[in-house]
């Protein structure tokens, strides 16, 4: 009997404790679902797409601080750089340098970009050349994104003449002054996108060092930070002769940049022949031996210049040169054969 009453007493006490625990659990669940409710209106990543530098710029950012602000700041920077370094806008700094008498006084940023371009030109022995403005204008590739573009094939003589007015050796940079000899004209198209990506990334990091995401500028990619804070971004390399969703490789990056140059990006067809925008600085004609190059490097500016240089130099030589310069690459030649630098395999694994 005594056992029984003790038992029932225990039972009553347990019930109250029970109910409290139950209520606690219900409250926790309620809170959990309320939080879920709030999460539906705040996506983890903010993404925006705008047109700049003659291509589509997609910026994707996740951040504890306002990601929208970071995305907008990056896009503003892209537009600013577009206006400043554009070759077609007569108000841009580059146009004014090209059209004025020497010497031309420039600001720090322009000096930096020109200096890096020259250094990269020297390192690649001219395969990347920031002073091909006249050649590019002759072919019309500077206007290829305008509605007024018309395909034009220059004659051998025209090219020979124009080549005399090209070449990075004619660009002299002294203190804050740039001198263009032999009427060469600057065209920084092969490096400006990379520069903008680097600027975008550092702006993001300035606003929030823990921000993550990426900048996709016409399929040249700069990583702001790892996916979800710690994961790899899976990046597929498009098959240069594929039909849109075919890939020739898949790499994993948590940081750094990856840039591709292809003969299918800016080109026009005449009589079935493809004339594309990556010109051999020595011959003046579009490079025929390569159809695509992809470079992984810590800076997009380097990667951009390397991918142009590798395109001109060809797979064999680039496989040796690019790692020396600090990048890794995947090159596809005209016979659709792929060559990878030795260190490229590192990026195919998640470590």
């Amino acid at each position: 009997m005594r056992k029984m009453s003790n038992g029932s007493q225990n039972q009553t006490m347990k019930l109250s404790k029970n109910s409290w625990i139950l209520i606690l659990i219900f409250i926790v669940l309620l809170l959990f679902f309320s939080v879920l409710f709030f999460f539906r209106s705040k996506p983890e990543y903010v993404s925006k797409v705008e047109i700049a530098l003659g291509t589509t710029i997609k910026v994707v950012v996740s951040s504890e601080k306002d990601p929208g602000l970071i995305v907008d700041a990056i896009l503003r920077e892209f537009h600013r750089i577009d206006n400043k370094f554009s070759v077609t806008d007569p108000k841009s700094v580059i146009s004014r340098i090209n059209n004025s008498d020497n010497p031309f006084e420039i600001d720090e940023e322009t000096a930096f970009v020109i200096e890096r371009s020259l250094a990269l030109a020297r390192a690649t022995e001219g395969a990347f050349d920031p002073a091909l403005g006249n050649l590019i204008t002759l072919w019309g590739f500077d206007k290829i994104n305008d509605s007024a573009f018309e395909p034009y094939i220059p004659s051998d003589d025209e090219i020979e003449e124009v080549l005399k007015k090209c070449g990075y050796e004619n660009v002299i940079l002294e203190n804050d002054v740039v001198i263009l000899q032999n009427s060469v004209k600057l065209d920084l198209g092969g490096i400006v996108k990379g520069y903008a990506i680097d600027r975008g990334i550092s702006i993001a990091k300035e606003m929030d060092p823990d921000a993550n995401g990426y900048i996709d500028a016409g399929r040249d990619i700069g990583i702001i930070g790892p996916k979800f804070g710690g994961e790899y971004w899976s990046i597929a390399v498009k098959d240069p002769r594929g039909e849109g969703s075919e890939y020739i490789d898949l790499v994993y990056l948590k940081k750094g940049t990856i840039v591709t140059s292809g003969d299918y990006e800016r080109f026009f067809l005449v009589d079935g022949v493809r004339y594309h925008h990556i010109l051999n600085p020595k011959t003046g004609y579009p490079v025929r031996e390569t159809i695509s190059t992809t470079i992984i490097a810590p800076d997009a500016m380097d990667a951009d210049a390397f991918s142009t240089a590798a395109f001109v130099l060809g797979s064999e030589f680039s496989a040796v040169l690019i790692p020396v310069l600090g990048g890794q690459g995947l090159f596809v030649n005209a016979q659709n054969e792929q060559t990878r630098t030795e260190g490229w395999a590192f990026f195919k694994e998640k470590h």
Binding site: L29, R40, I51, K58, N145, S147, R219, A236, G244, Y247
Partner: protein
């Protein structure tokens, strides 16, 4: 024959009791929140067409047909909406690069010379946690 005595008395294990309403109400709340959350996380069904940065057109992905996209009386292109997907056709740009692919395939359709960007509105999460591909270079 020995029978096992149940722990809970007869009247305690009935199917329904008055206080059950609390549980049902709680579950209803959870269900509503969960469905709302799920609905919002999937792709929206509105197409947004931006010309030079500002939104000019909104179409529904459910309305099949050909939509004209023009500005200032000048026709720029047409948008073909079919079976929940959309493509650009008959564009006035010189290289017709924008006519490749479809909206669902690439997520965005862009015509650079005419400064047109076409996206799916309410695409809440541009980053999927799948084992698939996040980005394409090339």
């Amino acid at each position: 024959m020995r029978r096992l005595k149940t722990r809970y008395k007869e009247n305690q294990w009935v199917l329904f009791k008055k206080r059950d309403v609390f549980i049902y109400a709680l579950l209803c709340f959870f269900l509503i929140v969960a469905i709302y959350y799920g609905y919002n996380s999937l792709n929206g069904s509105m197409i947004e067409v931006r010309i030079n940065g500002s939104i000019h057109y909104r179409f529904s992905l459910e309305e099949d047909g050909i939509k004209k996209i023009e500005t200032n009386g000048k026709k720029l292109m047409e948008l073909l909406i079919d079976q929940g997907d959309a493509k650009i056709i008959n564009s006035q740009c010189p290289l017709h690069l924008c006519e490749r692919g479809s909206l669902k395939q690439s997520g965005v359709l862009v015509c650079v010379p005419q400064k047109v960007i076409i996206t799916i509105a309410n695409q809440n999460d541009p980053v999927q946690n799948s084992d698939g591909i996040d980005l394409i270079t090339g």
